[in-house]
C-alpha cells in the first residue's frame, strides 16, 4: 500500500490514499472544528466549518470531503480561515432562533461551544427571526426547528445506522427543513422506530428528550462508530 507524504500546518505527515484531510489531521492530533461531521456517519460537507487552505487552490476547501494528495500543503489556521469560520457561525445563529439562555441544550451544545472556541462573540448580520414550530407529537422526543442548523446528522444516522430513513430534508435553500416521512408529524411516522439515535447525534437543542428543562439535555455520540463497526462486521 502506497503512502502519501503531505504537510499540515508545517508538520510533515503520512496518509493513506483516499483519506480526507480531516481524518489525517485527527490522526495527528491537529484540531479542525466541525459541526455536520460525526465519526461513524457518511460525510456531506454541509457546514463548511472545516474549511482549510490548500496550497495551489484558489478557494478554501472543506477538510472533511477533500482527499489527500502527495505533496499537499495544508493550513488549518489563518486569519482568513478564522474569519470565514466566524462568518459561517454568525449566519447559522442569525438564520433561526438560537436563544441559548433558555435552551434545553444550554451548556452542552456543539454550536454554542464552537462560537466560544472560534471567538464568534457577536452577530453582524440581521437576525431573520423566523416563526418556526416545535414538533412535539412524538411520545418521548421533540424537534424544535428554531434550534436546527440543518447539519443532517439526524438524517444520516437514521438512514445509515438505524436503517429507517425516517428523516429527510424538504424544501430548498433558506426554506429547507427537516421532515419525518412525508412531512407528517413525527408521532405519526410509520417508519420511526423510536430508537432516539437522531436525538443523541443532534449537535444542538433541536432534537431533545421531552421533559428536559433548560440546560438539562446532554447527548452521547460514542455509540455511532461502534454500531457502524459492528454492523460492518456482520455483513
Amino acid at each position: 500500500m502506497s503512502v502519501y507524504t503531505l504537510e499540515i500546518d508545517g508538520r510533515e505527515v503520512g496518509a493513506r490514499p483516499g483519506e480526507t484531510i480531516l481524518a489525517v489531521a485527527r490522526e495527528h492530533q491537529i484540531e479542525i472544528p466541525t459541526l455536520c461531521s460525526l465519526e461513524g456517519l457518511s460525510t456531506v460537507g454541509a457546514c463548511r466549518l472545516c474549511l482549510t487552505e490548500v496550497e495551489g487552490a484558489s478557494r478554501l476547501l472543506p477538510a472533511c470531503t477533500t482527499a489527500v494528495a502527495e505533496g499537499m500543503r495544508v493550513r488549518t489556521q489563518s486569519e482568513r480561515i478564522a474569519r470565514y469560520r466566524r462568518g459561517i457561525l454568525e449566519l447559522l445563529f442569525a438564520e433561526r432562533n438560537h436563544q441559548c439562555a433558555v435552551c434545553v441544550s444550554n451548556g452542552h451544545c456543539d454550536l454554542q461551544a464552537l462560537a466560544t472556541s472560534l471567538g464568534m462573540d457577536h452577530v453582524r448580520v440581521p437576525y431573520r427571526d423566523p416563526l418556526l414550530s416545535v414538533d412535539a407529537s412524538h411520545e418521548r422526543f421533540a424537534l424544535d426547528h428554531n434550534r436546527c442548523v440543518l447539519c443532517t446528522r439526524c438524517v444520516r444516522v437514521c438512514d445509515e445506522i438505524e436503517g429507517a430513513h425516517t428523516w429527510d430534508v424538504a424544501g430548498r435553500g433558506i426554506g429547507s427543513w427537516i421532515v419525518s416521512d412525508l412531512a407528517d408529524p413525527w408521532g405519526e411516522s410509520s417508519s420511526c422506530t423510536g430508537c432516539g439515535k437522531c436525538v443523541q447525534v443532534c449537535p444542538t437543542g433541536a432534537l431533545f428528550e421531552k421533559g428536559k428543562a433548560i440546560g438539562e439535555m446532554t447527548k452521547r455520540t460514542a455509540f455511532v462508530p461502534m454500531l457502524q463497526h459492528m454492523r460492518g462486521r456482520r455483513r
Partner: protein, 152 residues
C-alpha cells in the same frame, strides 16, 4: 494586606463588559476579584474589609482603548437606593469600615455596546494593558503606595 478588584459591566453588551471580564480573569488567577453588573450596596460589606479596592470599568466618553487609572474618593453627598454609583458605594463602605480602603479606578475607553460578547478592535488591543494596570494595583508588603501610573 488585601486588595479587592471589582469589575463592572454587562458581558453581553460587548465593550461594556470589559471590566467584568478583567475581573473574571483576575479571579481565575487566584486574586480576590468580583464581576458585577452594577455597584450594589452589598458590595460595601466586602469593600469595608480590604485595604485597597480597584474598580475596573468601561468609559464611553474616553477614546476607545485608552487606559487610565486614578484615585477616587467617597462621595460627599451620595444618592441612591438599591443602586449606588462608585463614589456612593465607597461612601457607604467608608462608614462601615470607619476608615474606608484606598480606592482606585482603572478605566478603558470603549466603542461598541451592542448586544454580543467580545470586544471591539481598539478595546481588544488595549485589554492587555488594562489587565496589567489592574494587576499592578495589588497591595504588596514592599510597595503598598507605589502604584504605577499610566497616562497620568
Amino acid at each position: 494586606m488585601t486588595t479587592l478588584w471589582i469589575g463592572l459591566g454587562n458581558s453581553l453588551r460587548r465593550d461594556d463588559g470589559v471590566g467584568a471580564r478583567a475581573a473574571e480573569i483576575l479571579a481565575a488567577e487566584g486574586l480576590r476579584a468580583r464581576a458585577v453588573f452594577q455597584p450594589l450596596p452589598e458590595l460595601a460589606l466586602e469593600i469595608a474589609a480590604v485595604q485597597r479596592v480597584v474598580f475596573l470599568d468601561a468609559d464611553l466618553d474616553d477614546a476607545p482603548g485608552v487606559v487610565r487609572q486614578r484615585r477616587i474618593a467617597p462621595a460627599a453627598d451620595p444618592e441612591g437606593g438599591h443602586r449606588l454609583d462608585v463614589p456612593g458605594l465607597l461612601a457607604l463602605a467608608a462608614r462601615l469600615a470607619r476608615r474606608g480602603p484606598e480606592a482606585w479606578i482603572v478605566s478603558i475607553g470603549i466603542l461598541d455596546v451592542d448586544a454580543g460578547e467580545g470586544f471591539s478592535t481598539p478595546v481588544a488591543a488595549g485589554f492587555g494593558e488594562f489587565l496589567d494596570c489592574a494587576r499592578h494595583l495589588a497591595v504588596t508588603p514592599s510597595a503598598s503606595h507605589a502604584a504605577r501610573t499610566h497616562h497620568g
